[in-house]
Assembly symmetry: C2
Homo-oligomer: 343 residues x 2
Amino acid sequence: MGNRNSEKPSSITILDVAREAGVSYSTVSRVLSGYEFVKEDTRQRVLAAVQDLGYVVNQQARSLAGGKSNVIGLVVPGLDNGYISEIARGIDEEIVRLRYDLLLYTTRRDLHREASYALKLTRGLADGLLLIVPLLTTTYIQTLKQQNFPYVLIDQIDPTNSSSVVDSTNWQGAYDATRYLIELGHTRIGLITGLMGLSSAGERLEGYKAALLDHQISYNPALVVEGDFAQHNGYQATQKLLQLSPLPTAIFASNDLAAMGAVEALRDEGLSVPDEMSVIGFDDIPQASITYPRLTTVRQPLDQMGRIAVRMLVDQIETSQTTPRRVTLSTNLIIRDSCRPMK
Amino acid sequence: MGNRNSEKPSSITILDVAREAGVSYSTVSRVLSGYEFVKEDTRQRVLAAVQDLGYVVNQQARSLAGGKSNVIGLVVPGLDNGYISEIARGIDEEIVRLRYDLLLYTTRRDLHREASYALKLTRGLADGLLLIVPLLTTTYIQTLKQQNFPYVLIDQIDPTNSSSVVDSTNWQGAYDATRYLIELGHTRIGLITGLMGLSSAGERLEGYKAALLDHQISYNPALVVEGDFAQHNGYQATQKLLQLSPLPTAIFASNDLAAMGAVEALRDEGLSVPDEMSVIGFDDIPQASITYPRLTTVRQPLDQMGRIAVRMLVDQIETSQTTPRRVTLSTNLIIRDSCRPMK
DNA sequence: ACCGGCTTTGCAAGCGTTTGCAAAATATTA
DNA sequence: TAATATTTTGCAAACGCTTGCAAAGCCGGT
């Protein structure tokens, strides 16, 4: 018999409350879950008993019986960068507002972990799943889909177009950034791409190409170095770009972290930003505005994305309606101090 | 009758596995929880059935029956700063290693939320609690204590000395920082304190005072401005310090975020760091090494603190031994570019 | 005073596990 | 070979709640 870890003070259950209030336990349950047909007088007595006893509902039992956990699972690659934290902040705010709890899983970009977490969460632990830039190898997303389990992808599109998604105008943002540099007179613009397994990275690359094309600048693959969104990778990528001759006069990094790595590398090489090299980023993470020089970048409304994702997910959960929707928020060029016109 | 949200495909339970494997459900349960007295042959058949059916255990049911959720609750003020994320990263790594799940709550420094979360988590949702810099108004900590519920405080001490705690040598760190500045020849050293409701803030203030005293520099309250660990507060506090005359020649900010705010304010005032003003921080958050100038600071082993806290907590959970322990990790002065000797 | 309908309450079954206990199967010993 | 010890398995109860169903209470209208 499941006898509790004896130390724990025999917890007060709904039965204790029922006894105290002189009603049946079902009535207590109904009061607690806001059922309408309970006499006002009874309701008060129950509430009083709850107060007196300091009763708090046992979520596990509630979920088991009710089939709903009120927990949302969040699967992220890691916590260690402003990009994720910003999205997470938005998610968190909205989740609190909608009275859900947040179960957090980090994958370290490990596909296996991604899949096993996702699976685990579907079995009772969570009512829905939020996936931030998952490494989309459709296998487990497939499973979610089949099980009709609510989930929303953040900043990553599903090539089959059958998942709910929140993202932003990556293509347009990259186009704007590149055009801005072109308008400043730059023509040799280096690009540090993102992790090419992610759709956003591809879209940004395309936006870059399109802007060049529209301005009669021919696309030069030598100016493009593949990155992975990490800061030290931005550093290395920049070192590569610095071996080119002639040098590029501007660098478009596919995210702020990489841009910061670029600035660092340039500083280490004794090149001044923006005087000798313009640098533009993407995301507008909080640090972007406080580094030196303050980073010109393309703003993604990260917290908004998080918030909207939660709303979409909860909507799916509560209406049992899982037809895929896609919301694309628009990006914004934020001009600060890291770019300068060609002399 | 708790009939599931009809869409969800009737989930496979332990009973299905049992039928498939031709054994009783208890046997399946035992195989799954690693009970030793199961014939090897049987075990294999069960495992095979599990594979075939794609069975995944339902955590809710398991916790309800077994009295253990394998979830650890983490209560933090917010996600939006490197300090928390670093600790969280350590926590996360260790939690994964020990096969627990992480339920995350943010309090926004709201006492009421802190308390209600803590309570909620104790009722079945989690097996233990990790509290990062909680606003110690003992009421709910008291409850935890009484219920003998496992918890560990991170970077905050319990004045009554009856909680398990992981922190670092705040006093010594502040002493070292101040002494370093003094040895560089500074005597007018501004201090931006942390949120004084937190023990670390007080300890750092004391360390600062002690270092002055030991070097025959009299403590001047005008040089100390109360802060709250936030970056913009560091900015404002610095503006205040800049109204003093004569000006301080160095500023010790009680954390890196505030130090970064200080650097920003100084830059906005046209004062060069470190040439015209030295700035030293505390924490060594990841950004500290990538800002410009790179920040000299006192390193706290934040991720270590997280990791150790998890170990202490899990130890409490698994041994049902909740006698308070305290682990204090040592800090380290990290010299970078934001301080310079007095000319 | 009686009936029909709505509101309010209680009972019991069930959610998917774990685990004590006892029975069954097997191994060991004299 | 019988008796005993040991390993292996199954049954049933419990974990703390939700909820369908039916009984009970109450109302106004007749």
